[in-house]
């Protein structure tokens, strides 16, 4: 196995044993990028010079006999909506094509502090709006398992980079499923932490009350290591929770004995492809055989989750994206005659179609006369959905569901049908509305394409979620299969 195919915890061991240097690992990753990037197109920006410099610094630490953090020297790919000082942050939009932030996101500060190596910025749906990475104004990213297919979105670049071994771990953001859906399509592990567990400072917002940064990794152990590094209170984010961050690796125990898992009947009914259903049922059986208590549960309001999600997300987006007006930073139309025309032209030319569609939807939902009927009603639905989850979690430790209704679809297949595209989030968006954590991990294949299973935890119940996911992983082989690129 080449270095770039390994997990962070494997590489850490090799570095500690001085069998390999951080520089060798970084070099292996860039070699792989050179080899397959033409086919996958995961990245928007590569930062090779800085990456090698960080890696060499880690090697100096090793030589000096310093204790190495688990992520020191580990190559990380970063979704291009997370700010890194001096590195272009485009959000895959013409609007920010030339934007270079003067500050680091909190997650970047934290990863820098432990010596992680940033290899580059990954492709995404423009401003994180989309489920296929096709709305990127930079280029389309392809699924490493089948390059005729999409990698999912909006963290499609990060998921593809991990699956194609172009990095070891990656960061994504998840507003309605944007980490978990591409993780499912690319056969990797994706975690959407509890809202407030990870600081949002420095992540360009799509919908502030739903967005959360999380990791994409090759296995559950690396997911736990990433959570250890990025979770915790941040005084720069008012919505960041004050809580004691546990050592998540302590939960990596091969045992689900007595764990109570609920399977929402609503999820297993509507719109789920027969093949995917079979795979999920197989995964449920595996967990049951390992000692978990599995029962059917009900989330009665879940059928309203998707419309509520799209109303709240677009409403917040319409306001969050108002700052892109050509005045202070970003794209500006220079031919306009007056300030109003400058605003209008800059936004008309700088934003892509999907972004404009969502801004208009959100503006409409918030406008006088429609607020009560749409936005306010969506907030009420959100409360009901939270209550649904609370009720189930009174009796159950976890909720299990498919991540997506189907495996990865073909490039171009859904791009002209927004509603069909929005249905990609049907199993994931309720998790963001409720603010609870969720992990997606590979649980089988359909026609050679990976299928993901979603395990949803109680608020700040990432530990239990990791324990179940780890147990499943240790007793199956799905995560070991690699795409033949």
């Amino acid at each position: 196995m080449s270095l770039n195919q390994m997990t962070a915890h494997q590489l850490h061991q090799l570095m500690v044993n001085k069998e390999v240097s951080a520089e060798e690992i970084t070099t292996a990753v860039y070699k792989r990028i050179d080899a397959v990037e033409e086919k996958v197109k995961s990245f928007i920006t590569l930062t090779k010079e800085q990456a090698l410099e960080t890696a060499r610094n880690v090697d100096k630490q090793i030589a000096a006999g310093e204790k190495l953090s688990p992520l020191a020297g580990i190559p990380v790919a970063v979704k291009d909506n997370i700010c890194i000082t001096g590195v272009s942050t485009t959000c895959a939009s013409k609007m920010l094509a030339d934007y270079v932030p003067p500050f680091d996101a909190t997650v970047i500060e934290k990863l820098n502090a432990v010596g992680a190596v940033m290899v580059g910025k990954t492709n995404m749906d423009e401003f994180a709006m989309g489920s296929s990475t096709e709305t990127s104004t930079m280029h389309t990213t392809y699924n490493p398992w089948d390059t005729d297919r999409v990698p999912g979105g909006s963290s499609g670049g990060s998921a593809a980079a991990v699956a194609a071994d172009q990095c070891i771990v990656a960061l994504g953001t998840d507003t309605g499923g944007s980490i978990r859906q591409p993780a499912a399509f690319c056969g990797v592990v994706g975690i959407k932490p509890t809202y407030g567990a990870v600081s949002r400072y420095g992540a360009v917002p799509y919908a502030s009350s739903l967005d959360q940064i999380g990791p994409l990794t090759k296995d559950v152990t690396d997911g736990a290591l990433m959570l250890n590094a990025i979770c915790g209170h941040d005084h720069r984010d008012s919505t960041s929770a004050q809580y004691d961050v546990p050592d998540y690796t302590k939960y990596l125990e091969n045992n689900v004995q007595g764990l109570k898992i609920g399977i929402p009947k609503e999820y297993m009914a509507a719109g789920l492809g027969a093949n995917v259903r079979q795979v999920i049922e197989g995964a449920v059986a595996t967990l049951a055989n390992l000692g978990a208590e599995v029962e059917e549960v009900s989330l009665p309001h879940i059928k309203y989750a998707l419309p509520a999600y799209y109303l709240i997300a677009t409403a917040e987006a319409s306001s969050n994206l108002a700052r892109f007006d050509g005045v202070g930073f970003g794209y500006r139309d220079t031919d306009a005659d007056d300030i109003l025309q400058m605003f209008i032209k800059s936004r008309s030319e700088g934003f892509g179609e999907e972004v404009k569609r969502r801004i208009m939807l959100g503006t409409y939902a918030l406008s006088a006369g429609f607020y009560d009927a749409y936005y306010l009603k969506a907030l009420k639905v959100r409360t009901l959905i939270k209550q649904d989850f609370d009720q189930v979690f009174e009796k159950y430790d976890l909720i299990l569901s498919p991540t997506t209704p189907t495996p990865a679809f073909k490039v171009g297949e859904n791009i002209d049908d927004p509603i069909k595209m929005y249905l990609q989030d049907i199993f994931t968006s309720s998790v963001n509305l409720a603010g609870v954590p969720s992990i997606c991990l590979p649980c089988g294949f359909v026609d050679g394409l990976p299928v993901g299973m979603q395990l949803i935890g109680k608020p700040f119940g990432e530990g239990t979620m990791l324990r179940a996911a780890y147990t499943f992983e240790q007793n199956t082989e799905f995560h070991r299969q690699r795409p033949a690129l």
Binding site: T89, T239, A322, Y371
Partner: protein
């Protein structure tokens, strides 16, 4: 002919004088080179997040309490969405349906009558930046944006439409400024924009209760301008209505030079601000105990201080309200009393000569070097007969200009009052000899003629003669 009644409501923005901005750590200091008090947060760079400055909440609560408002135990921040080039995020973080304070009032005094003006609510918000044009807006080839003011903490105080005249409107804002200044949460300097005010004005036939169509007047940057603008607008509206016209709901700006209000934009295409709760900020939950502590810590406010002056110092109500209108003035008054406990004398000198001098110099009391102790010393010099009241005015002028001790000035300029009978008798005898006409007039019963002789004596002594003594001696000599 219809008699008309004006209905006026005011929206007053007050800048809180915290050290840092409302959602970041940038300095709130006035002035500074353009865009030097800015950071990624107040520039609204993508990815940045606001964090509420607790001091802003404290100051807002203090202001709310001083305005007799009820403080909300739970309030939240909302986004007010509108496009403006100096608004970095194109939404303003403000409070909409759950403001920090509600339902207060202020008592104002107009024409000797006390009137209670209701305060609908007070909310917290961030200020926008400032646009800088070359020359006029229309002719400027470019516009520059200075974000130093962006993110400055403001409270907006919205009155009930309880005022009926421009005079009442002015009295309300003056009282509001006085109360807020007392709490110490703002300078309330209209010239520096730390107190800004918009007026909503409508008129209706006397006796009716339905509100007429209102206009909003902006851009009044002094109390005088406020009064004049409102007066003008009331008259304008009455004229339009009496001519059979209709008032258009619109925003008007006050043109100070021309003394008129001008239409800025029609409100018919009213902005839809699409308010919604700011998802980047958690609700503001306020502890009752904390509010109690802040209430207990409030200083004595102008109304109660005024009442105390009447009671404790037996001052006329007029004196008491003038002295207490500005906290610095009031504090100064009380400090002077510590050294010179004659309230009415101190009041006369502060309201009269000192205020006159400061006004003439366009100075605030705090800008002048004079201390309460020095001022008391001056009054003592008069009281002891060392200098005359007239000389004291000259000495005071010098004190305000230089900050020197009154005794030093008197000594340096040789201003000590002449109370020596022998010395004065000599001078008076000379005056009598030189003015036989006046002497004759007096002896023929024109008693007023003595005034001329006193004046001549004062002139001869350069004002240093003790006036009482001069009078007495003159009368004796002319007998």
């Amino acid at each position: 002919m219809t008699k008309w009644e004006a209905v006026i409501g005011l929206e007053v923005h007050v800048e809180l004088k915290t050290n840092t901005k409302i959602f970041c750590n940038c300095s709130t200091e006035f002035g500074g080179d353009p865009n030097t008090h800015v950071c990624p947060v107040c520039l609204g760079l993508p990815g940045t997040l606001p964090v509420l400055n607790k001091k802003v909440v404290e100051y807002a609560v203090k202001a709310g309490l001083a305005l007799n408002c009820e403080i909300a135990s739970y309030s939240k921040f909302d986004r007010k969405n509108y496009y403006y080039p100096d608004l970095p995020k194109n939404y303003q973080v403000s409070q909409f349906d759950l403001p920090i304070a509600k339902g207060g009032y202020l008592d104002i005094e107009v024409g000797g009558e006390t009137k209670r003006i209701g305060i609908h609510h007070m909310h917290m918000e961030e200020d926008a930046g400032k646009l800088v044009h070359q020359g006029t807006i229309m002719a400027s080839p470019y516009t520059l944006v200075d974000y130093n003011r962006g993110g400055m903490p403001l409270v907006e105080i919205v009155s009930e439409p309880d005022m009926r005249s421009a005079e009442e409107a002015r009295a309300y804002v003056e009282k509001l400024r006085s109360v807020i200044q007392y709490t110490g949460v703002s300078d309330c300097k209209m010239q520096e924009g730390s107190l800004r005010c918009d007026a909503n004005v409508s008129v209706r036939p006397v006796g009716t209760t339905k509100l007429g169509t209102k206009t909003e007047i902006k851009n009044m940057n002094s109390f005088k301008a406020l009064q004049r603008a409102v007066e003008y607008e009331i008259e304008r509206q009455i004229e339009v209505l009496e001519d059979g016209g209709k008032i258009v709901q619109e925003t008007r700006t006050w043109d100070e030079a021309k003394g008129i209000t001008i239409s800025m934009r029609s409100k018919e295409e009213a902005q839809d601000y699409r308010y919604f709760p700011d998802p980047d900020l958690v609700p503001v939950v306020i502890d009752e105990q904390w509010v109690k502590e802040l209430r207990d810590g409030l200083p004595e406010l102008p109304d109660s201080r005024k009442a105390r002056y009447v009671e404790q110092y037996s001052l006329p109500a007029y004196d008491a309200s003038v002295l207490t209108a500005i906290k610095e003035m009031s504090d100064f008054f009380e400090e002077v009393l510590d050294y010179f406990p004659q309230p009415k004398v101190v009041s006369n000198w502060i309201m009269g000569d000192l205020s006159g001098l400061l006004n003439a110099n366009q100075q605030e009391l705090t800008d002048s070097p004079i201390t309460a102790k020095q001022f008391a010393e001056l009054l003592k010099l008069i009281d002891q007969g060392t200098i005359s009241g007239k000389i004291a005015k000259t000495v005071l002028e010098e004190m305000v200009a230089t900050g020197k001790e009154p005794a030093t000035i008197v000594k340096e300029k040789g201003l000590v009052q002449i109370s020596d009978e022998g010395e004065l008798t000599k001078i008076i005898e000379e005056i009598i000899a030189n003015n036989p006409k006046s002497v004759e007039d007096y002896r023929n019963g024109k008693t007023a003629a003595i005034g001329f002789l006193v004046g001549q004596t004062m002139k001869a002594t350069k004002g240093k003669a003790n006036p009482g003594l001069v009078n007495k001696l003159l009368k004796e000599k002319l007998q």
